[in-house]
């Protein structure tokens, strides 16, 4: 089914471990985004990407690394997980970078760091 998928859907890891969250979209959208969702904060932008090999920081980038070697994939890596990174992570994509364009969200990954 076309759309935007995330894997894994649930992940439990330990402090200090490296974790990679995957995001894949089938629309060939140029723009992709990573958000984290925490109670009381809504969604906050971690990183975004305008195209393959073009990425930039959002509001809360510390502790995260992204890459975009292919248009359809936008993995998010926590290089050394901390408890404060326990959250629900959402990937999104949009066709354009226009402020009026709709972002389409994946189902999310619930990450727990012990």
């Amino acid at each position: 089914d076309a759309g935007i998928t995330q894997s894994p859907r649930y992940k439990i890891t330990e402090t200090g471990r490296q974790v990679t969250l995957m995001c894949h979209q089938t629309w060939s959208h140029s723009y992709m985004f990573w958000y984290r969702q925490d109670l009381g904060h809504g969604l906050r932008l971690i990183y975004y990407s305008a195209a393959a090999d073009i990425t930039d920081k959002g509001e809360v980038p510390d502790g995260y690394v992204v890459s975009r070697s292919k248009t359809e994939n936008f993995p998010l890596t926590l290089e050394s997980a901390t408890r404060s990174q326990t959250s629900v992570y959402f990937c999104a994509s949009s066709e354009s970078f226009a402020a009026w364009d709709t972002q389409y969200f994946g189902p999310g990954t619930r990450l727990t760091v012990l």
Binding site: I4, Y31, G40, H41, G42, L43, R44, L45, Y48, G58, F90, A92, S94, S96, F97, A98, A99, W100, D101, T102, Q103, Y104, F105, G106, P107, G108
Partner: protein, 116 residues
């Protein structure tokens, strides 16, 4: 910087009753406004958005929202809710003046609980 305030963290309501979810944003400059819905264990789905023109915007599932520039508000309404409307609702703003890029600022969310 833009900010979005959703005035109610939780709204309980009985089935078939009307509901209003309130949203205020910080800036009076021209912005684009969005409402997203998140059903349990799912990603966010666009309900509606305001770009320009008529201040009353109709969305999916019978929802509508009214843009009020003077009050910097974008409240979401539905005249008669169903059990299936139980979800988290997020208001978001995008500022075309912020370099023009598609940066959404989200409110903290309002959990709508519809009871039979």
């Amino acid at each position: 910087a833009q900010s979005v305030t959703q005035l109610d963290s939780q709204v309980p309501v009985f089935e078939e009753a009307p509901v209003e979810l309130r949203c205020n944003y910080s800036s009076s400059v021209s912005v684009y406004l969005f409402w997203y819905v998140q059903y349990p264990n799912q990603g966010l789905q666009l309900l509606l958005k305001y770009l320009s023109g008529s201040t009353l915007v109709k969305g999916i599932n019978g929802f509508e929202a009214e843009f009020n520039k003077s009050q910097t508000s974008f409240h979401l309404r539905k005249p008669s809710v169903h059990i299936s409307d139980t979800a988290e609702y997020f208001c978001a703003v995008s500022d075309p003046g912020s370099g023009g890029y598609n940066k959404l600022i989200f409110g903290a969310g309002t959990r709508l609980a519809v009871h039979p």
